[in-house]
Subunit: 326 residues, 4 copies
């Protein structure tokens, strides 16, 4: 009820402050007998780990997952899966100056007001570090949907938009168009040297989507995906299919290309690819502090995998729900 | 679990097919001793009722609410409030041709696939008529937040954007700028005569917002609002504050004007006004059928009050939650 | 969150005060395409209806169910099923004297304290009349488990215990032993003439139980059944298998006859028959008021079918849950 | 949805197999700024720890709690509290013979059937060891109700009933009557030497109970307590107030002493003491294996504190719920 729980049939409960002993997640609703590969989980975590390039914070966390329960001899037991990641680099002096101030757009002040207390060593639960738990859960959710592919990438950083894919790999900034990525790299380095930060838009394409996921009224799949994405730190907007641009299309235009609907009709998957976008604002830490290199100048490079993982969690949850009724 | 339930402390369960006996809602979590004014409820329902103008379907439903429980001598009892609205105009011959076909972007096909059965007399639960239950619940939610004002209006219809407010009243199409409304009226009449339909964007401003609503991780208030709005039929996108346009702003720009954040920091209300937008696609019914006048050429005129009501429900729910912990 | 909601995959939300306009239930989670027989539902409702004999209140309610949604051409649609029963005999003068007093063991006082308001025309939500909603839901739950039989009967009324079954039918007081029933009939008539009331114990045997229902930790099936039965008005105790008497058996005794465990091991059904008992206290209305004949001298005759229905609901819910994971 | 989650406003999610790396709990819904005393927590855990006397298994577990999140500088943060206890004595050879067999009344077989896989090193989630997580949560729940006292004790072991209290302290077997305890000690030692085990009944008295806890329909406090207690391994029966014995009392007898109702009317607390009992069966491990001393001959000495903790959790949850509405 305090919002650290997500999902129904495939559900997660997360915990951990950015500068506490550990972060973690308990996953309830994982069927038994599914093979678990720790290296695959590590690879997923590495995609959101800091310190991978000059475009992310230099704070280095090993992010080594420890499985405490739910897995036995390499297979899921059907019991709750608890995984923790210890905080190894709890250097909090950077944050000391935030103790009595707050960053605009950040949770510093609202957290203090809401609870009457705050872990001023860092951003507590409002830290982007909280998303490590989501990536762990996303790994396990993915085991339930082996036929479904989730591919997120950078749609834009600042005003720089991705172009036609020139590679099947994502660049260090998440673009699939190499030229756009180079341009954005220069832009972000410039931001960084000026103590600035930038926002951007993540796009996600899901292929091999099972039909019949989502429920007709309040739990339309688009609503569930919206909630999942808008629960990410820094998110400001969400759209499916042709999204906001659809509002200037007429009914007959829409009916000519089903891609406008983003893979759902009436909020229920129809087997088409799901397509959605999530907008993220520029990080709140700016000025001298941002120049120190211990803050991300842009959330996108690290948040792309989190967007994929949240979608995996939502679809896994609805996949199990639909199984119950069919 | 089939998605007809919404909210936790202030929760609703809705029911009813568009051409069944009745639609309704059960509200659980209403405190006792609050005064209920049936005329206020009727007035709210009238705002989403069809047949109000040439811009909405000519299908006429009385939409007279009947309170079955939870209210005694004009006051809430603290027990579940059940309210129904009977379907009085169940003319379904219009839909007969949909029995074996489906409208692109509509739930006809996915409903049949999902349940193996469908009430082909109309759109069943996927009908916009389902929102009558949301308006009823929104009325009661509003009783919990008498100091908070919810004002939604048309941001745009098709390519026509609202201008500076020239009236404190909304026009028949929901604009606050008279000239823009006139232009849109002509546009929609043209759509109608051509069997066309149009999308649009609703904006919502909430003032007098209590602080500390929303939870830090998965139930950030922006996530809860996103889910609420993206559960509306025809919604395609959602944004808070400066939304998608924020992605091209730099961190230092953002920090200069707190309105960019839309009244929440870290997903928790800070007492500032909440500002959000919801994009709706053009209705699916086009061609000769649309010319008949029994379908809305644009969802906006009737959906504006529904957007307000969903926001009321979300805030009432989080208001009660926060009370528990403070 | 105010406790009018029960179940997860097969869930119900109930509403209605004893002297309000109607009572009812919304069932969410019913699969589509299942045949609905209104006469079967009426027959089930008749088993809990008052006025059937001199052993129940003479208050006569038609209890005619009206289906408002979720059923079309005799089949479930997969959408929420809403059913109401109107209160036709809202004679409340009997209760007028309770307006400013309260009956010991009854909810009169606690309801007033909790909500600050009370529908003094009757017992509001605390009335046994609330169970009409449970019987309706139990009918629909039963459609999901056609192979499972639920047979509840009177284990005892006052000190009079049921004997070996002499009939496959239940007597008017719910006994399967005719002699015991005759004895109890005389006892209850005596109670009634003295303005007295009596308690009793209901036994329930479930045969044809699917394996694997129930979850290992907090939602063991025995816990779910306990909660269901202890939510009934007047219930004071619950036991499974050999229950309280098992506490004086040694481990080796227990292992000789699996019936001691009541059909569950580790809280999960093993395919054996489920056996449980529920204790009910004597009704609170005693003295002159009880002599009037408008109150039940014993809850058992009418509560037996409610016990069956609550068990149906619990098993249907867990049946759907287990399907999701297997 | 797999049953490892309990409570709504004060909620817990537990995890861990008896022979896995660790057991633990995540508590969501703890208000901020409450002082945490690790020694108090340790003292509570010690009451359920094995190896305290010759009447409990000789398996020794340090059961040292490690707080991973939610507490900062000795105070709760309002964020999720995660606590783990590592399994230090994972000697599982005792259980090897259970790999391909199952103990009657135990979860061995149903777990295998349900999940298609089982951690045969021990009893997995069905182990009594799972209750360590409940005790941890009970400690934190207690912080919310400092005025409320929970005192559980042994009502009976086998046929030996507790007598009038001769001490305010509980004996090693949980009795408050010294003579009864001595008798039971001799009985249990005899059981142990014969490879036998015994059941018993725990009584719980709660004083200083806040009024207005519990909800009128499905979440009556007696129902919530029943569910909590019947979710304990080995529980077979539950009763409140005068329980099963109330069934042979007449209405007028009941009304003479409010203690018969156990502190609740209509399922809602009235401020009177709550009184309840829980029946536990004899442990399943009998014969030579039981003689080894690595199994409890009776659950009671260690389960008493768990009964108290489950009650704390239920009342804390309902205390927060009621705060929201009042």
């Amino acid at each position: 009820m305090r919002g650290n729980h997500f999902g129904k049939m495939f559900s997660l409960t997360t915990f951990g402050e950015s500068h506490g002993a550990a972060l973690g997640v308990v996953i309830d609703g994982m069927p038994g007998n599914l093979p678990v590969n720790l290296d695959d989980l590590r690879a997923l975590l590495k995609r959101r780990a800091p310190g991978q390039s000059q475009f992310t914070t230099s704070r280095v966390e090993a992010d080594e997952p420890e499985i405490l329960s739910g897995v036995f001899e390499g297979k899921t037991l059907g019991t709750p899966i608890a995984v923790i990641v210890r905080n190894t680099n709890q250097k909090s002096s950077d944050y000391d100056s935030f103790k009595d101030s707050h960053r605009p757009g950040h949770a510093d002040r609202t957290t203090q007001d809401k609870y009457g207390i705050r872990d001023h060593r860092g951003s507590g639960r409002a830290s982007g570090r909280e998303t490590v738990s989501r990536v762990i859960a996303g790994y396990f959710a993915g085991l339930l949907l082996p036929q479904t592919e989730f591919f997120a990438y950078t749609h834009s950083i600042g005003a720089i938009e991705n172009g036609p894919a020139t590679s099947s790999e994502r660049s260090i900034l998440g673009f699939t168009n190499t030229a756009a990525s180079k341009e954005a790299e220069a832009f972000l380095l410039d931001c960084k040297s000026n103590g600035e930060s930038s926002g951007g838009i993540v796009a996600l394409k899901i292929t091999g989507v099972p039909k019949n996921l989502g429920e007709p009224a309040f739990e339309k799949l688009k609503a569930e995906l919206a909630r999942a994405m808008m629960s990410l730190p820094g998110s400001m907007g969400f759209e499916v299919g042709s999204g906001f641009s659809v509002t200037s299309m007429k009914g007959s235009d829409l009916s000519k290309d089903s891609r406008h609907f983003g893979g759902m009709e009436g909020g229920i998957t129809n087997g088409d690819d799901i397509f959605l976008k999530v907008a993220f604002k520029a990080p709140s830490t700016v000025g001298d502090k941002a120049k120190s290199g211990r803050h991300d100048p842009c959330l996108l490079p690290r948040v792309i995998v989190v967007v994929e993982c949240m979608a995996r969690i939502v679809l896994a949850d609805h996949y199990l729900r639909q199984k119950a009724y069919s």
